[in-house]
Symmetry: C2
Subunit: 337 residues, 2 copies
DNA sequence: ACCGGTCGTGCAACCGGTTGCAGTTGATAA
DNA sequence: TTATCAACTGCAACCGGTTGCACGACCGGT
């Protein structure tokens, strides 16, 4: 704050005691007499004394701050995760410092530095697409900083991970499509570099194999943006033998897919059934509301934060653990027969 | 960090110089000889020295942290604002500390305390619904803390405000509906306590008056959640003389309205045209894509942050100013004739 | 009157940097 | 040889709290 704030020294001077006494009186230390305590506490209230968190942080090396690094804050997924995290963090009297890597490796390294500089007590990370060298994270771990990765996790590192079981999520979605009589099932991937893409793809393939449906490479499309997904979906529709169902890998691709289907006046689910990995809130905006394998953004945030606090409270001596949330399959009209 | 980090004292000991010398060498102070500078900087790099931001914050009373208080992190609006803010904050080498008030006055007061304790250099706030007593903010202002209110602004306080011109936004939307031949125009409000609700309502009324259309109280409905909006819209449709256009006050209400229209198989825009205050990303998810008065979440965040930094850099001596962004009217198929 | 113990408080160091000022060194000028 | 002056470097205080330890006052017991 710009104007000088009230400090314990101010209170000490007014009351003619030492700052140690004020400090102890404020925290009800048994050494201090009741008379002194009362006087100090009254005065503190009167002057609207607020303890300086920065000073305490320096002294105790505990900042009561949790750091969060996400690739982006754009919709849809990460804002939900943040929502889940913030609730947990606030509940425990901690605060949240948020940084974006903007999918840049350099930025991510810098962000780790910033969080370290700020003495955060723990870090939650979803890594950028470009990150391959993990030394900024291994250094943190050697440094004994509590850290939990979520969603976009690094492949080879010993640490806590929180994610949803994408393989079984996609598997269940495809089986569901098969159960309603669909056989020509397409999938629209997002960024192929992401683990979630390959996991969801492999769940898709696994389900097809189980039901002896041949994999048609033409049915595997990629849309890194809504527009791209729309364009690719249009191509799908022009195939001589178009699909009768589409699995969307994200909210973004779903949005493009639905636009293409609307434009072509496709009947959903009669002509083409649709299902996707969409946040619940958004999946209900379409007509018909689309079935979804909930990516559980809020839940991931909550669980990751909980795990981080467990680490913080138990001195970070826990064995690294991977928490696999099983995703909920929510069936709506887009796949109802 | 849990393990002790490298400090300038470590470097000083190794090199056999004083910590003052190290401090100066690291910041290229002219007093220090080149030889010493090089030695220090080398060693700092080698030991991966990271300055302790907390210590600097304590010394300088500058934390390089901006505080943000929002009522909620749930979709749709505030996450967009945060996105806009974070870009600006990061760009300037600052960090963002985010707190939710959860629409609670007490929580909001507490959050202000927390931010003060953390020596944030400025605060961005969108106030809670329940906030009527503003003393926690006036105290901040008297304290000379830079502060900028956005979107949910308090009515009587001398400070910077950033908002979109809701009255003209609603006015233009309604005029647009009239221009395509609609006359029976309904509006679905959100929380009636919010200024945006009353502003948008008054823009709505103003436009109707200008075109000599009588205000029909039955056409003014309220939906604080998507479900409520859906229910109220259904009631609208059951009127003997239902509306031929609906203005949605938010993404949330739009979602409910569209569900009701889909269920009733209403033709959009032929039977009922639809327009709303929706984030661009979300307005395109509907079928047809809905026309929107962009609430400009990202833009608001950007402008509010810019104004806050202006205050910070100019020692907070600026005259309070209200920045009224004019909202963009984006016409899509939901209101095309 | 003396010793031991309790109670309440203050001193000073500490956390990790920054910075005004004084001190040391060596070279140069007188 | 000595005074003078850069050029470097170190000392110590400071930011706002916390905390181990010492100290003084007062008590009761002997």
């Amino acid at each position: 704050m710009t104007n000088k704030a009230i400090t314990i020294i101010d209170i000490a001077k007014i009351l003619g005691v030492s700052k140690s006494t004020v400090s102890r009186a404020l925290k009800d230390h048994p050494d201090i007499s009741n008379a002194t305590k009362e006087a100090v506490q009254m005065m503190a209230k009167q002057l609207k004394y607020k303890p300086n968190a920065v000073a305490m942080s320096l002294r105790h090396k505990k900042s009561k701050v949790i750091g969060l690094i996400v690739p982006t804050l754009s919709p849809f997924f990460f804002p939900s995760v943040i929502h889940g995290i913030e609730n947990e963090v606030n509940k425990r009297g901690y605060n949240l410092m948020i940084l974006q890597s903007n999918e840049s490796y350099e930025r991510e390294v810098l962000n780790v530095d910033i969080l370290q500089s700020n003495n955060v007590e723990g870090i939650l990370v979803s890594i950028s697409r470009k990150t391959e060298n993990l030394s900024h994270f291994t250094a943190l771990i050697e440094d004994n900083t509590p850290i939990v990765f979520f969603d976009r996790i690094p492949k080879s590192i010993q640490a806590d991970m929180v994610l949803v079981d994408d393989i079984s999520g996609a598997f269940n979605a495809v089986e569901h499509l098969i159960s309603i009589g669909k056989r020509k099932i397409a999938i629209c991937l997002g960024n192929p570099n992401l683990l979630i893409s390959s996991n969801r793809l492999s769940g898709y393939k696994k389900a097809l194999k189980k039901h002896s449906i041949e994999i048609n490479e033409e049915f595997i499309i990629t849309g890194q943006s809504s527009e791209e997904a729309e364009k690719e979906t249009k191509k799908l529709l022009e195939l001589t033998n178009p699909p009768d169902a589409i699995l969307a890998i994200s909210d973004l691709t779903m949005s493009g897919i639905m636009k293409a289907l609307y434009a072509a006046k496709i009947k959903i689910p009669e002509d083409i059934a649709v299902i996707g990995f969409c946040e619940d809130t958004f999946s209900q905006m379409y007509n018909p509301p689309v079935s979804t394998i909930d990516p559980m953004g809020i839940e991931i945030g909550k669980i990751a934060a909980e795990r981080l606090f467990q680490r913080i409270h138990e001195n970070n001596i826990l064995e690294p653990k991977t928490i696999n949330l099983s995703s909920r399959l929510i069936i709506r009209d887009s796949t109802k027969v």
